[in-house]
Amino acid sequence: MSETLIKVEDVSKKFCKSLKKSLLYGMHDLGREVTGRRHGGNGELRPDEFWAVNNVNFELKRGECLGLIGRNGAGKTTLLRMLNGLIKPDAGRIEMRGRIGALIALGAGFNPILTGRENIYVNASVLGLSKKEIDGKIDEIIDYAEIDEFIDMPVQSYSSGMHVRLGFAIAVKIEPDILLLDEVLAVGDVGFQAKCFNTLAEFRERGTSFILVSHNMHQISRYSEKVLYLKKGGLNYFDDCERGIEMFLADMNQSDSEADINRTDWSRVNGSGQVIFTGARFLNNKGDNITEINVGDALTFEIDYRSAANMTNKCVIEVIARDRDGVALHTRSVLVLDKSGEKILDGCVRVIFPFIPINTGFLEFFFCAMNDITGEVYDWKRNFPIKIKPEYVTHSRLSIPIKWEFNLNPI
């Protein structure tokens, strides 16, 4: 039962950076194809071209799941498109066995003016079902998508949730041997998402192989046996899931901090300037300047500011820290006035975090001084980063000391 469904050998694909040249090369390639020669030449790069997918090798057996990871632009989607037969590789060989399905373009080909029912027929035909098969499955599809009462309404009046639910319901009805997933695992509200996951689980039990592209390492590690980590320059890693994710995260952290150092521009005032920031730094609990901490450490963030003369408006200072997934911490405080209440005192303010639970490699601080009532921005500084060293790689955003307790009932 463990036959190989996908075999990918030395597959590469080149892309062109310039649109004009890309179109021109398209004409060349077309000429070559028509005269029966090889696609993509002999593997040499033409001016302005680069390898979007470089030297990929992997095999996937029935029932296995492959997690496809890599930075943005590492060629994950391009590889999926080659596997799906949409575009041809420039080098190498791809062999696929069985019916291929893709949860990529949910509801592609929906016509907004036609009703849901009509669109089911169109969409399912596009995905390769015959009229007879659709006739047999249409009730299941409507039922699955939970849009019974709206099925004879034009699709343009559907909510976006109904739209993707219908698309998903159709896409999973093709019962593929190989399923390609690009960031779409589940759609809709919580209830529907649970249904999506259960459907995918059913597929797995039936022996469907998956290829899953995701930036969510938790999902990757949960589903995949193997990982393919696509790297620039063709040094791809294909093997054990945990190890692959670890490598990927380690690389991410390194390049993050390299790119993020000193991105804050102190010479510019981003606002009306009644209060301006003149500097900021991170301190540990001994008061030393630092640029890196371990997850769980205490952190003090110190900001210097100056204010214009006779600045009596109520001014607040807001500090926001973002990690890769969005805002992680958010806090605000009112700036202090002098005794007469006529001027904001210059000085520095400290935000003290007793411990930093963020486990995603870095935090970027954004801080803003503004009028508490009108919201007028006085100054605003962005992208002030600190690197966080995870103690161990977990796949959660937070690392908080946790204990488990069981209350067992012996019979």
Binding site: L23, L30, T77, K88, D90, I94, V126
Partner: protein, 283 residues
């Protein structure tokens, strides 16, 4: 376990294995049959659902065109030589046939452009788009045919037995038009220039085809008219509709035979071009 299709993708040109390619082509054509029908039904019903005049739109443009030419000739802005048929009938039938041809020319590029987002994401038989375009052209051709028949009956012309051969004339117009449209589609998808140039070229084509002007007897114009492969199609169509004996029947048949060959070639080019074009469409 049921037998599973094995799909292999390599950089080799599919032309390296012509037998397999031909088999795939006809397999995909058959596999795309139902989809083509679905897409045609989708596009036709969507096209007319958001209009008040509905199917009448298939007629309004050629009708307006006819009126323009009638006005031009009646008012003496242009002088048109004597035609065998009454001029209104001549122009009306001519523009109707021409508009069917134009529909067929435009369908492949328009259909493929409209399906870009689908093409870029889903693997389905690409032939379906072309076949769907042909279905839609046939559909509007049928509406036009009915109107032409009604109109010429009102104008007092009896078509005679030749009318039974009308489907052949229409189908060859559609076939030639689709072949031309398919030929320009791959380049048209890369460069928008093609889409912009077509109306211009087609207008010129119309003036060297006996659509609104009768066949000139001599000079450069006569040569252009007779070298133009669309000429026999339009003339034969009009002769059949208006109860005349087709004058250019052998030329008509020759054009059709050549087009069948051309069709196979442009179909192959279209298939070969698709992955290259999709690479350059946004996902």
């Amino acid at each position: 376990m049921t037998e599973q299709p094995i799909t292999i993708y390599t950089p080799e040109s599919v032309l390296a294995n012509p037998r397999k390619m031909l088999r795939d082509m006809f397999y995909d054509l058959a596999a795309g049959r139902e989809l083509a029908w679905r897409l045609a039904v989708r596009d036709i019903s969507a096209q007319y659902r958001q209009t008040l005049l509905g199917f009448l739109w298939a007629l309004i443009l050629p009708l307006a065109n006819t009126l323009v030419w009638l006005f031009l000739s009646e008012s003496g802005v242009i002088s048109i030589k004597e035609t065998v048929l009454p001029y209104p009938v001549y122009v009306f039938v001519g523009t109707m046939l021409w508009s069917i041809f134009m529909d067929a020319v435009n369908a492949p590029l328009q259909g493929t452009t409209a399906s870009k987002s689908m093409l870029a994401k889903i693997n389905f038989p690409r032939e379906a788009i072309i076949v769907s375009g042909v279905y839609q052209t046939i559909f509007s051709a049928c509406i036009k045919l009915v109107l032409v028949l009604i109109a010429i009956a009102i104008l007092g012309i009896t078509p005679g037995w030749g009318v039974l051969f009308i489907p052949f004339a229409l189908l060859s117009l559609i076939m030639v038009g689709t072949a031309i449209g398919l030929l320009i589609t791959p380049i048209g998808l890369l460069y928008n220039d093609v889409g912009k140039a077509i109306p211009l070229l087609m207008q010129f084509m119309m003036y060297i085809t006996p659509v609104v002007f009768p066949m000139p007897k001599e000079g450069l114009a006569a040569k252009l008219f007779i070298f133009n492969p669309i000429t026999p199609l339009i003339l034969t169509g009009r002769d059949l509709l208006t109860g005349k004996v087709p004058e250019f029947l052998s030329y008509f048949i020759a054009v059709n035979l050549v087009t069948v060959m051309l069709f196979l070639v442009v179909w192959i080019i279209y298939r070969l071009a698709m992955p290259i074009l999709i690479e350059r469409m946004s996902a």
